[in-house]
Amino acid sequence: MTVQMIFLAFFGGAAVWFGVVVFRTHSMVRSALALLFSQTAIGAMFLVMQAEFLGVLQIMMMATEMSVMAIFMVMFMMDPGGMGKMDMTHQKRLSLWAGGIGLLAALLLVWLPDWSPVALSVPGAHEQAADLGRELLGRSMFIFQSAGLTILTAMIAATMVAIVPNAEQGK
């Protein structure tokens, strides 16, 4: 058993456990924090898998994203603290079956194929970042620019949907 295996299992277990906590707690703020911990554990898994740039990016991005989510939770929920223990679920049995079948199908796909040969080493962090930069500004530039354009479109769309129309403002 290697150190990498132990850390991978530890952070992976933490990511799944906090993912479960997201839907088990009644407090919405706790849900957002549990999702933040889950995403941070995933970032730690990336670091264990020697993808340093992606690991740090994941932790930084998700910390911001989940903080925004926690603010929205407090804004929109009738009971953000979960003191009333409101049940906000429906079709629970169907969802459990769907989640269980999805999990089993994914596990079968993971455990049945023969994945060998497995790479033993990865390029160093500097080389990885340089390779990724060359990939983004070379062969995959069109895909990368499309992602940027999509984000811009989503920002404009989200703002347009969220702002109050002039006709309503006058009322």
Binding site: L8, G99, G102, V118, R134, E135, I143, T150
Partner: protein
Amino acid sequence: MIVELLIALSVGAGLFGVGLYGALSQTNLVMIVMGVELILAAALVNLVAFWRYLHPDEPAGQMFVLIVMAVMAVEMAVAFGIAIARFRVRGSVEMEEARELKG
């Protein structure tokens, strides 16, 4: 090394199962978004694991991770835009009360 790959992919499977349960079972829009975020996180874990253990010399694997992260950000921005519009009109983001959105 094969065990590490299997651990990482199994974690991805676990996150997918939990996310699917959450996205289907929750009635609140923000909670549904959390479920979808977990499903996308499962995709991220799988992509990094495939890059690390199968094709470490291929930076396109890391590039796909950035694309999925962009998708996560876009999904959240649009969902919150809809949530604000919905909250303004109805005073709630409960999806049980949004049956008129069904086509």
